[in-house]
Structure formats: C-alpha cells, structure tokens
Symmetry: C2
Subunit: 450 residues, 2 copies
C-alpha cells in the first residue's frame, strides 16, 4: 500500500528542532577557543544558509523556487510493507518513506537544492564540494544544474577509478569532477608530493574543496550532512510523512533511520520530535554500523569534523577525528562524528541508538528486496535490520506496534556490495575496545565556554 | 508537474488491440507451413498466456493477485516536463509517463508479473528465460520471487562478465543466473565445442532457455517482448495515462515510444488507438535506432524470431533474421524484427515510425536529465529525441501541440554508455543499403496461407 500526496502538499516550511529542544546545541568553537561567528562562515556559505545554521525559529519558509524543484520527485511516497510483514509473520505494521525516488537516488538532493538556491540568491557562480562514493556529489551536481550554477566535485581518487558510474552521473548533470588528491590545490599538491600514488581520502577531498571555496569570491562550499541547516532541509521527509500517516489514520510507535552524519535521521525523525515535545509517546532510533559506533560507543566531546583538524570544533558524539572506520559497504555511515543536534538529543536520552553488524544489514536488505521489490542502499539496510529486529520482537510479544523507517535511497550504484555479500565475501567488524579508547584518548583538550 | 493516481485506479482490465484492428495479425506459421495451434505452445507457456496470445476479446481482466504486485510501484506518475519545454522555448506541451519507478527500473515487470502469475496458476515450478544486458532477466527474477517461482536466466556471456550489476540484481531477487553458452544444454555445448571462448549471443541464450523449458514438465519459458500477450500486459501504461490526461483535462496530439520488439510502444500507444478507432485524430510514432531500422527500412514478410531460425514464422517488419545490428548502446532496441501487432498497424499506415541516430539520442537524454533530473535509459532517449524534434518544429510553426512519450526506464545501469558519449567516443552508424538488401534477400520463402 502506498500513501501519496499531491504536489501542493509539499511542506511550505522546514521544521527547526532547535525551537523545541530543552537545551540548544553547544556553541561551535574556532581555533582560538571562542564561538564561531556567522561572519566567519561567510567565505564558505551564503547568507541564507548561515542564517539557518544559527536560527532558533521553529518554522522556516521553503522558498517557492526550491519547492518548484522538489516537485520533480516530491512528495515521496509512504509505503506500507505488507509483504514484508506477512513474510516475518509479525503483528507489527511496517511503513517506509521512499526517498530513493529522487533523480540522484537518495534524500541528499533535499538539501542540495536548497543550498544551490541560497547560493544563487547570493550571487555565487560556482559550488565546490567533496564526495566519496558519490551520493552527495551527484545530488549537488543535479541541484547546481537546476539553478544554473557551476559545480566542481573533488572525488576521492579510489572511488573515481573504481566506481565510475556516480562520476558519469555527475558529468551527465554537467558537473566537473576531479580525482582527489589533485594538483589544483596546495592541500592536494602536498599529499601528492609525499605520495604520488595516493588513493585519496574524504579528509583530503574536503581540504581541497574548502581551499578552492575560500580562495575564490564567486565560489562557495556545500556540505551534505552534519550541519544544522542540512538537517533542517531534510525535515521535508518527516513533515510529509506526518501528513501521510494522518491520511491513513495511523501514527508510528517507533521511527528508525540510518545515522552517519545525521541528515537522514534528522530529516525523518525531527518533525515527530515536535510531537514528543508536546507530550506524545514515541521512540526515535538512530541506527549505526557496529564498525563505526559513534553514538553507541563514542564520547560526547568537542572534536574536529575532519581528519586533519582544520574545521571548527563541535560538541558531538565522536570516536576521535582520526578514527579510521573499516571499509564497510555503507560509505555514507563511515563518519567518526555526528551532527551536533542529534548528539545533544542523544546525550539527553531523548532519542535512542542501536548498532548493527554489516552481515545483518545485507541480510535485511535482501529480505526487503525479495518482499517489497526495491533494492535498498546499504545505508538504508541499517534501518531495515533494526525494524526487522523489532518486528520479530513484536511477533514474540504479540504487540501490534507501528514501525516506520526512512528508505533513504536505492542500491542501484551499490550492486558490487550485494555481489560480495551474496558471494559470502563480506565480514563483520567489531572494533576492539582498546582501539576505540586509543582514538578517544587523542581527542583535543578543549576548555568549554560557560 | 506530476499527475498521480491512487492504487485503486490501477486498471482492472488490459486492452487487447486485436478487437479494434481493421485486420487481425497474420497467422504464426510452424515449420510445416501451417498455422501454429495453441496446443503446440503448451510445452513452453501456461494456459492463461496462450489464451491471451490468441484472444480477440477487447478487455481482459487483470487478476487481483497481479494488481496486488503492480501496487508496489503502480500507478506510475505522469509528468509534465515544464523545465524541458522552457529550455526548448517551445509552445508544445510535453508529458511523459515514468516507468522507471518499478523496482527493476523499466516497464518490463508489467508483463513479467503477469506471466509469473499465470505460470503459478498452472503449477509451473520454474521459469527460464534469456537476457542480454539484463532488463528482462531482472524483471522476471523480481516477478518469480513475488510468486515463489524459481527463475533461471541465461545471460549472454559478454554481458555477464562486463555488466555484472544487472546480474547481482537478479541474484538479489533470488534468481539463478548462468553465463551463456553453458554446458547445461545441447545448444550451449554445441557452441562451446566449436568455440570454447564464445562470448555468446541473444540467439544462443534463447535456444538454451527454450531447450530447458521444453525438456522439463515443471519448467516454462517467458519472453519479454514481441508476442501479443506481452504487449497486452503492457497496456496498463497507456490505460493509466488516459486517466491521468483526463484528470488534467488534456489529451495528446502525438505519442512517441521507443520501438525494439514493440512492448514499450504497444504498452503506451495501443489504448489510445482505441480512441483513433472511434474517430479521434491522433498520431502514434514508433521510434527506432537508425542503425536497426526495422520499420523504416525493413520488409513486411514472414521471418523467424531468432537468428538460428528455430522459432515459428511471424509476418512482421524485419531486416532478416540474420541481420546483425551494430553494438549500439540501446540494447533493448537491437532486434531484427518487430511485434506482429505493431507491424500490421504500420503496414496499414495506422501508426508511424521514425529512425534516429545514436548521438542525437544521447544528446536528447543529457538535455532531458539536465532539465528534468531523471537520467533516462538509452532506449528511452530515442523517444525523447523524437519529441525534441517535434517540439522544435512546434517552435517554428507556433503550434501548441500536446506531445506525450513513454520514459520506459532509468539509465542507472547504463552509465558506462553515457560515459562514452560524454567522452566523445560514441558514433552513429547508418546501415549501407546494400547490406540491408542482402539480409532481406535471405528472408525465408514462405507460401502464405490464404
């Protein structure tokens, strides 16, 4: 069963959770230990985005121009997974929002389109960003094309070479894609001087993108997760879902979403948090890889957003900025830290977190594909695994809970990972406690402002 | 703008064009020159399918069990391509039906699901088929899984090795995929005896699949295009589109669809033909590759469906069954013949045909992706190219025609082709008249029954 909305039901406002949080997130600190001012962000981001990053307004209007682009694929359908329910023999009801219907195949364009719009408004000519496997890069390529902005993507070299199809997609949408490390930037040249055959890393690609944006007046930087404004833009997902649940006269008892940087979880869960804030009983569950257990095994501390320690410091759950997660197949969840908003809520026990192992996630994804048809992205499989666990618990207990998760994207560009899973070549990786402890011991020492 | 339908608006009947054709298609002939009887098809197909293959009933009920599976993605949205219209500066209105929303990414599951259902009804345990690049094989894998049937796919070896992701998708849905030629069958062993390193071909893969189906009582064969029942199943596309046009108070002046075997064109165009039969003025345009110009340069004659000449003889437009189209990037359109229904209508000038070159199709596909977001399948790009031609003609003439095409699928598994196009490595191929003539001269000599 699918629950559809008409285009005029695309939300007219994003929901800003800051307005309903018992305590706002901690200030972001600059290299001098003082809170970062909005002005300091101006070389990288447009005014509209900076304003949203620090706003405490509950409702922020979605510009008509952004809604026009959303209309190409939004509202996304809410599905009830009746075949999966039957296969599990559970009395639970399972719903999912399908964000894989966007042209880029995930929820990422919800923020990319907004960011492109505010940059266009500000007179930006060119957007620059980094991408690993390519989900964010392709979303920004699409969004830039929609508003007539040039897009330059630094793509981690090993992905550029081994996963060429996301690169082709970005180029189809007119973006310029450069393998990182490159000779374009000082950051890239430094890496190449030490190791001419470097495979690159997300950390290096970020440095290259930021360097280009900082040096060029008409060029801005765009980030696909973690920051407040990104999670804000993603709330269209949860806001649509609330209307869809209303339409069928149901309401979730538990909401599940994969959680890497937090844009997926925040997007689907935050609008429901507003109801919790007004007394509704509801459980919000962030699902992360057992091999990168930021919320479940990390510390709530000030840390850098990047490996090199070039970004401002954010109070967040972190495994230490130099923590290197293993090469799991859900690339979007391989991040040492987490959004400040998600971290703050988790620290106050307003939301929950679960860690699942890689094999369990692929087993869940294959079961989902065989019942519901759609082959999910490996990131989405984390939410599916947690939902299946809960549905089977309901079977034991006889409870008819309403479970809801965000199917953040399809797996069409991840079939090599399914291939390895089906061939029995994937393994689990449970990080040894001493390695996690060692990375946490390297956290920067920060005097928190009072 | 998208025009949506609710699930209860999925059609309850398929439309059988035979009921409205001025002349029915010519009889299919067996090796003895006599018409093939329904009984002769029984070793390969289930009763429900054979009945549809020869039916002249206008409306054939869609079983509830089939509609239940259609609901996983149907009704598919009808989009109006307003950004593309604006970019072309045309007064024409451009609409498209998006069949890429199916889990397999194309319109093919519309028939695969129906065929799996009738086989299940008939007690079939296993379906066997062939696939080239994998669109049909993955659709049948999906459909078989939905009805608990085993699926065995003979995949042309060169595709099996070079395009592994469609194979992974079939395996994710539980199908068994074998590289063809294989040692499973006499047909495969014969080829391997002559050439142990054979890359395989669709012709050989068909022979392997048919051999397995003919030899095993519980195993049937399934074909993804050309046959009457396949085009019948695809009419859900056009039937939904008619409701969607009604909803917005518009109606197409011209309908375009890519045409290889005919399932795509028949699916979208036939239900509108019913209106032409009752006097409505409307143009239906089949768009084919200039390098495989079956309708535009072939003959209307009895010919075999396969290279080896093992199938019954069908009166159709053909380039000769041993015509080898070049390795263009729209694999679904590389077929020497065409559906008997489409051929008959074209011969009576009730429908039209256009041929477009490969470079023009990719240019159209990239323009579409940059305006509308979705990256189309190379097959779909043929329809887009023809629509853009017509929209630009409208710009010249000032006519505000309503143009409609079927976006038969997305291009997520075809990015290597876009890559080659963007790198300037693709070429056009206009078949020399003498080569086409030579293939036509090899057409079998058939005494047509009166």
């Amino acid at each position: 069963m699918k629950v559809l909305l008409e285009e005029n039901e695309i939300p007219e406002h994003w929901y800003n959770i800051v307005a309903d949080m018992p305590n706002p997130p901690h200030a972001v600190l600059g290299p001098d230990g003082n809170p970062v001012t909005p002005e300091a962000l101006a070389p990288l981001f447009p005014a509209g985005v900076i304003e949203q990053e620090v706003s405490a307004e509950r409702w922020i209007p979605i510009p008509q121009e952004v809604r026009e682009i959303y209309r190409l694929w939004r509202p996304s359908p809410l599905h009830r997974a009746t075949r999966l329910e039957a296969a599990l023999g559970t009395p639970a009801k399972i719903y999912y929002k399908n964000e894989g219907v966007s042209p880029a195949g995930s929820h990422k364009p919800n923020s990319a389109v907004a960011q492109a719009y505010y940059n266009k408004q500000d007179g930006t000519k060119k957007l620059v960003t980094e991408t690993g496997a390519g989900q964010w890069g392709s979303s920004l390529a699409l969004a830039g094309q929609m508003f007539g902005l040039e897009v330059l993507v630094y793509m981690v070299k090993i992905s550029y070479e081994q996963k060429p199809f996301r690169r082709s997609m970005m180029q189809t949408w007119g973006a310029n894609v450069v393998a990182s490390p490159s000779t374009d930037t000082q950051a890239g040249r430094d890496v190449l001087a030490k190791d001419p055959d470097s495979n690159g890393s997300l950390g290096v690609a970020i440095s290259e993108a930021v360097e280009i944006a900082a040096q060029n007046d008409d060029t801005n930087y765009a980030l696909g997760s973690v920051l407040n404004h990104v999670l804000l833009h993603q709330t269209v997902i949860g806001l649509e879902a609330k209307k869809q649940f209303e339409k069928v006269g149901d309401y979730p008892d538990m909401i599940f979403a994969p959680c890497g940087g937090g844009s997926n979880f925040g997007g689907v869960a935050f609008p429901f948090f507003a109801d919790m804030a007004s007394g509704k009983s509801l459980r919000l569950v962030a699902v992360e890889p057992a091999s990168c257990p930021t919320l479940t095994r990390g510390h709530f501390a000030y840390d850098f957003g990047d490996v090199a320690g070039l970004t401002p410091l954010t109070k967040m759950y972190t495994l230490g900025h130099d923590f290197m997660p293993p090469g799991i197949h859900a690339g979007g969840l391989r991040y040492h830290g987490d959004s400040a908003l998600v971290s703050q809520l988790y620290n106050e026990k307003l939301i929950e977190a679960q860690a699942v192992n890689q094999l369990e996630t692929f087993e869940a994804g294959v079961e989902f594909a065989r019942q519901e048809g759609i082959v999910p992205a490996p990131e989405s499989n984390h939410a599916i695994a947690a939902v299946i666990r809960e549905a089977l618990a309901c079977k034991e207990s006889g409870e008819a809970k309403t479970l809801f998760f965000n199917l953040s994207g399809h797996g069409h560009f991840d079939m090599a990972s399914y291939d390895r899973y089906l061939a029995g070549e994937l393994t689990d990786y449970d990080y040894p406690e001493e390695e996690i402890q060692a990375a946490l011991d390297r956290l920067p020492k920060v005097d928190e402002p009072v």
